[in-house]
């Protein structure tokens, strides 16, 4: 298991490449979501196809998640962007990268692109959105609910999750409860520094935003298209928030098409 010390936290990293000594065409960095998520969601869905398509695929567990270290503090969005920055630095990835983020991971990916426009070739948001004041308010509501239900009434909450979502999800929820109880995450995320509309619009690289047709985030598509200079959106009908896992073929194909297009443009 590869652990990388960024200087402030030890992060679990997995990397897949084209194999057979083939050089990679570009690097794609995959960032997972909050609480119950880990790099496994990418590792067992889109990552093998990305590697087979000739990409250097970098996946890591956010601090506190998966197999990464769990410091008690430091869970604002800026901490996550700092971690990503330091990680790529440690891995020696200096050129621009394609960023793909699922849910909160997309918010981190977009934040990185907003901070370092020259280091982002493209950004793909999977069921995700940039950090805006509305985003911070929503996360405060969601995390408040999680703290109340999961951290303070764990047995009842877990019984409900087991009955309605199965044992595997319950096990993940248990891990989430621990993360919320033992760290400042639920207070840090809503207190994160957010972007103004001008700062969002300053991300000029191609942005692809994918949403489940039945997701309450689907409304983001029109807003992003209006604000960003180069944005395409895809709605995956019949799905809610879990399109990365449930419709990974569609999601992966869209990302590869965007990356191929960007590479084509760069070569001209």
């Amino acid at each position: 298991m590869a652990m990388v010390d960024t200087g402030s936290v030890r992060l679990h990293v997995q990397r897949l490449g084209p194999g057979g000594g083939r050089p990679a065409d570009a690097t794609v960095v995959l960032v997972h979501g909050l609480l119950t998520d880990s790099l496994a969601s990418h590792y067992f869905t889109v990552a093998p196809a990305f590697a087979a398509a000739g990409l250097d695929v970098v996946m890591y567990d956010l601090r506190g998640h998966g197999r990464s270290e769990r410091p008690a503090e430091g869970y604002t969005l800026d901490h996550n962007i700092d971690d990503l920055e330091a990680l790529l630095d440690r891995l020696g990835v200096s050129g621009p990268v394609h960023l793909v983020g699922n849910s909160y991971g997309g918010t981190v990916a977009f934040g990185y692109a907003a901070r370092h426009p020259e280091r982002a070739s493209s950004v793909c948001l999977i069921e995700s959105e940039p950090a805006t004041p509305a985003w911070a308010e929503k996360l405060e509501r969601i995390l408040g609910w999680v703290v109340e239900r999961l951290a303070h009434h764990e047995p009842e909450a877990l019984a409900w999750v087991t009955a309605n979502r199965g044992q595997h999800t319950a096990r993940l929820a248990k891990g989430a409860a621990r993360l919320v109880r033992e760290t400042t995450l639920s207070r840090d995320i809503p207190a994160s520094r957010v972007l103004t509309e001008e700062q969002v619009a300053a991300v000029r690289c191609p942005v692809l935003a994918l949403y489940g047709g039945d997701s309450d985030l689907a409304g983001q598509a029109a807003w992003l298209k209006g604000v960003l200079p180069d944005c395409r959106t895809v709605i995956v009908p019949g799905h809610e928030h879990s399109i990365l896992v449930e419709a990974s073929g569609t999601v992966g194909g869209q990302v590869l098409a965007l990356v191929a297009e960007t590479l084509g443009t760069a070569a001209r």
Binding site: M1, Q14, S38, A40, R67, G166, R171, G175
Partner: protein
Amino acid sequence: MTPVSADEESVLADITGMLARLLEDEYGLDDVEIGMETTFNRDLELESIDLVTLAGLLQERYGDRVNFAEFLAGMEFDEIIELTVGRLVEYVVTSLKAAGAS
């Protein structure tokens, strides 16, 4: 370590060893019974991130002849939840045979 052999018995022994190591390292468990019918989720209570660790152990043992990530990426979520040790053993045996191991 014994040489890699593409028969069910040896592969089961390999994988049982890997799982025992993983359960010990991550959960401090040292007496879990593992057989062909054992499920990763219900019986061993492994999380998806544990399967990433297992992928690394499989890579160490078999190199590029076995691609666990690709194997799982081709499955529906429900199939992964129901995945048994036996199904993985079969996949490894098939992959090793295809790659020309004896």
